[in-house]
Amino acid sequence: MPVDLRSYLGHVELPNPVFTASGCGGTGRELAQFFDVTRIGAFVTRSITMAPRAGRPTPRMAETPSGMLSAVGLQGPGVEVFAERELPWLAERGARTIVSIGGGSVAEYTALARRLAGAPGVTAVEVNLSCPNVEDRGRVFARDGSAAAEVVASVRAATRYDVPVIAKLAPDVADVVSLARLCVDGGADALSMINAPLGMSVDVDTMRPSLAAGTGGLSGPAIRPLAVRCVWQVHAALPGVPIVGMGGVMTGRDALEMVLAGACAVAVGTALFHDPYACQRILRELEELLQARGFDRLADAVGLAHRPAGAGPRNRIDLEESSL
């Protein structure tokens, strides 16, 4: 029997829970060579900015153990070109498009949300909070709960009522749960976790940072334990809030891990660089795993690892936060 894979972000129903991760799926056209982008739950765009951006100098990427560092710098054509050329292409094909937005100030996020409110084909808006706040000496919004909440509130206000707003969080904050709570209080309908934490590598031959930008975002399986932890903690604290889980999902097993920890949808980023068919493969593997475990509906697996401990010592979960 096929599993009911429907996933819900607020009131929006998606046919299945596998998305692309922001910045990892190009414009959609590139992946369309490999699979039908309308068959996945949603296509998430790279973070769109008001003005065109050339991004960071190269080298923009470095491989690390089971991960990679990248510093693209939100290269893109700006929201006008996006709304005129990229979004319609996705909309015409019937893809569900989640538009990620990135700004340097509350005003810029708001302007982006306004511009997109008029554009047809926007299924949801994802607010990338890992952007530097130019009004706070470049401190990223996600590191300051009140700035993050302000951004979310103003995007929520500028967005059509039937379009969910998703706040995207990173793990390198003191307390992801309180940040999540502030975003939800600010009006976020869902949360997306995790954005790539800041990392760095030094090339021991040139004796210089490997990336031109110095630091970059760490992505891939290396960070999956951080992602699962964030999803778990936030789902425990805010069980009603839909979570899009991401960070190192390479296989259906990894996707199921996110789901069991509390994600109702899963986004695939770095895996696409290794396997351009990854979204479809992961979706198929996830369905098979759910079937093998006797689930009729994806929804029944969401957060299941939190269920009260059954009998037996292995089931006792003790959640004091120390790692040691």
């Binding site: 990892c24 991004g55 990679m68 693209v72 696409l272 351009p276 068919y277």
Partner: protein, 285 residues
Amino acid sequence: MAGSPVQVTGTVLTTRRVEAYHALTVVAPAVADRFRPGHFVTVAVGGPYSSMLTRRAFAIHDVKPDYGGTVEFVFSVRGPGTAWLADRRARDTLDLVGPLGRPFPLPRDPCTCVLVGGEYGSASLFVLADVLQRRGCRVDFVLGASSADRVFGALRARRMGETTTLTTEDGSLGMRGEVTDVLAGVIADARADVVYACGPMAMLRGVTAVCVEFGIPVQVSVEQAMACGVGICMTCVVPVIAEDGVTRMVRACTDGPVFLGERVRFDDVGTIPFDALGAPGGRHG
């Protein structure tokens, strides 16, 4: 381009050493079918439990019809990924995606072409020469490297080319020096109409400068660190001047790797030129 790229798990047919290089031939009919000179493949490295996440890019050196279609690429060991590849043996399997990239544009009418290769960059020039010759073009080769064992394909060039000029930095083969030292002479002697070049960035810059002086077009195939090879990660960009005169950061993997040399801002590779579209504090439209 003949259709879109595919992912295949191919069996290694043969492995061989060619001087400083390793060459792997892999059975991959779907890739071979779609191949045009200038295409590249990306290869997953390290096996199923690998800590190496990103694919490695290699120019396709040759395709053959054996076993439905094989693809050969040539590489030197640089880091752990190429070290792993160098350990592959016949009958191992390799996970390939390809063919990728914008291939070399071909001249409509017969003309005289100089093909310039540096180090393993010459690997992609022989299938190109073949196609050009079948279209009635004259082909001359200029191949260079740091030393004799790193000049790839000298024999084959001698067999195929109207003329073949070799350079090595240590003088161990051909002229001592770089390809750019001899290129002007070759272009003049052959009365070349177009140049094709593949090799290190510094060489491509030099070759382009020579061609600009002669006022002839040069098609360069550039190399940039790539995370995806299929146009979705935006890590492989180079500053290129578009037809509208505006410099954009374009993807080497899908907008290239072959570009018209004069359009590539070689001096600005590794930077965001201040006048590029979307440069910080710069032009926004």
